[in-house]
């Protein structure tokens, strides 16, 4: 390789490497701040900032959704598998909001450790399944669970 070209190749590699180093350090500094939401464990332990607007994300706990009969008020719990956080919200929930699915609530945590949310987002997972396959999987899961407890008829 021509020495001049070799030198220019080295410069190009140096350029990309130094850019990667700079951006890498910035990302290292940002680590936690790059997160879109806090987990319930981070909020309950006080690791998340207090008395300020934040987002909490986790799985909606089964059978935890309570709705008001005469308003759009709704209460539910989310979990990260470690802690649970109660969320209250008045408004319309996204279509994909469901128990057992992930949701992200944004708002302020009050003195009773309840997040008063101004917005609820549904978080979708990376799995895609046709309805028949999903039904079949649910059915198989139910049978397995029932067989475990011995109550399947």
């Amino acid at each position: 390789m021509h020495p001049l070209r070799k030198q220019r190749l080295q410069l190009v590699i140096l350029l990309v490497a130094s850019a990667a180093l700079v951006i890498g350090l910035v990302i290292y500094m940002l680590r936690e701040n790059g997160n879109f939401f806090y987990t319930p464990a981070q909020i309950i332990s006080g690791e998340a900032p207090q008395n300020t607007f934040l987002r909490a994300g986790g799985m909606v706990v089964d059978a935890s959704v309570l709705r008001s009969e005469d308003s759009l008020w709704v209460q539910f719990k989310i979990t990260d598998g470690v802690e649970m956080l109660t969320i209250e919200h008045t408004g319309i929930l996204p279509d994909l909001f469901a128990e057992g699915e992930a949701a992200i609530a944004s708002g302020k945590v009050d003195e009773n450790l309840v997040l008063q949310a101004t917005q609820i987002l549904a978080k979708h997972d990376e799995k895609y399944t046709p309805p028949e396959v999903a039904d079949a999987m649910n059915e198989a899961y139910k049978q397995k669970e029932a067989a475990k407890t011995g109550s399947y008829k």
């Binding site: 070209r5 850019a19 996204p94 279509d95 994909l96 046709p130 396959v133």
Partner: protein
């Protein structure tokens, strides 16, 4: 720098033969005239292939693939969103590598490819962001959120825009090409960030469905048309890049005798 160059030549000796030997094809590819002639022969076949594959993928994905159990039909936007996002990122690498070849070998054609790649990549990035927003409203409940994936994708759009702007910021083509190539190379750092953002941070955007190391977390009936669409987008990208590059060749080489002859022949003179 001499120790660095010694280390470098030792490490890469295998891949860096003397120019007199096997590098001839590389230099021939660098001739605008040769590239223009050859690409003109490839173009009809590549266009036909792109059209067929895209049509197959679209009909398969939009009409025949089963709907998603949770999202219903709105998931079908994936057949545009994912291939566009794929090519927005691959296209950035193509642009940056073309820029690097231009910087190192001073090859005219590679700067032209770099310039041609910028607007195509910008459009694909916009398509990915736009289809994502359209899908986000019914699925997440918001058109736009500032999570790591979406923000890094927006930065990609700005990088493309920066490369395009630098092309017009200088009077001399050489200065414009060098400046754009440097920005394109620095910006490559963003691509692994886009890719890994969903793993490094908690994001609203879901993690990757298609992984290199394991089976896709998608039913095969839904995945096959997606794969066809990705191949189709690559072919389409090739067609668009060749067309843009040919345009740039004619513009920059307009004073050469071969372009004059070509124009005269077209005009019937």
């Amino acid at each position: 720098m001499s120790w660095l160059s010694k280390l470098f030549s030792k490490l890469f000796a295998k891949w860096l033969p003397n120019e007199s030997s096997s590098w001839q094809w590389f230099y021939r590819l660098g001739s605008p005239k040769w590239f223009y002639r050859r690409s003109g022969q490839w173009l009809p076949w590549l266009s036909l292939a792109a059209l067929l594959v895209l049509a197959t993928g679209l009909v398969w994905g939009l009409a025949f693939a089963p709907e998603d159990a949770k999202q219903g039909n709105s998931f079908r936007i994936i057949y545009i969103h994912v291939p566009a996002a794929f090519l927005a990122q691959s296209g950035y690498f193509i642009m940056a590598i073309a820029g690097a070849i231009g910087l190192i070998w001073k090859m005219k054609i590679s700067y032209m490819v770099m310039k041609a790649a910028a607007p195509i990549g910008a459009v694909l990035t916009f398509v990915a962001l736009f289809t994502g927003a359209v899908w986000g409203k019914p699925t997440w409940g918001a058109y736009w959120v500032w999570d790591a994936r979406i923000t890094s994708m927006l930065i990609l759009l700005f990088l493309y825009a920066g490369v395009m702007a630098l092309q017009y910021a200088y009077h001399s083509i050489d200065a414009a090409s060098k400046a754009s190539a440097i920005l394109a190379l620095v910006g490559t750092v963003n691509i692994p960030i886009i890719n890994k953002s969903v793993d490094w941070w908690y994001t609203l955007h879901q993690p990757a469905t298609i992984k290199l190391t394991s089976a896709p977390s998608m039913h095969m009936d839904m995945f096959m048309p997606l794969l066809v669409m990705i191949v189709g987008f690559y072919l389409f990208y090739g067609v668009a890049l060749i067309l843009h590059t040919r345009n740039e060749i004619l513009r920059r080489e307009r004073k050469t005798s071969w372009v004059r002859e070509l124009v005269n022949a077209k005009a019937g003179l």
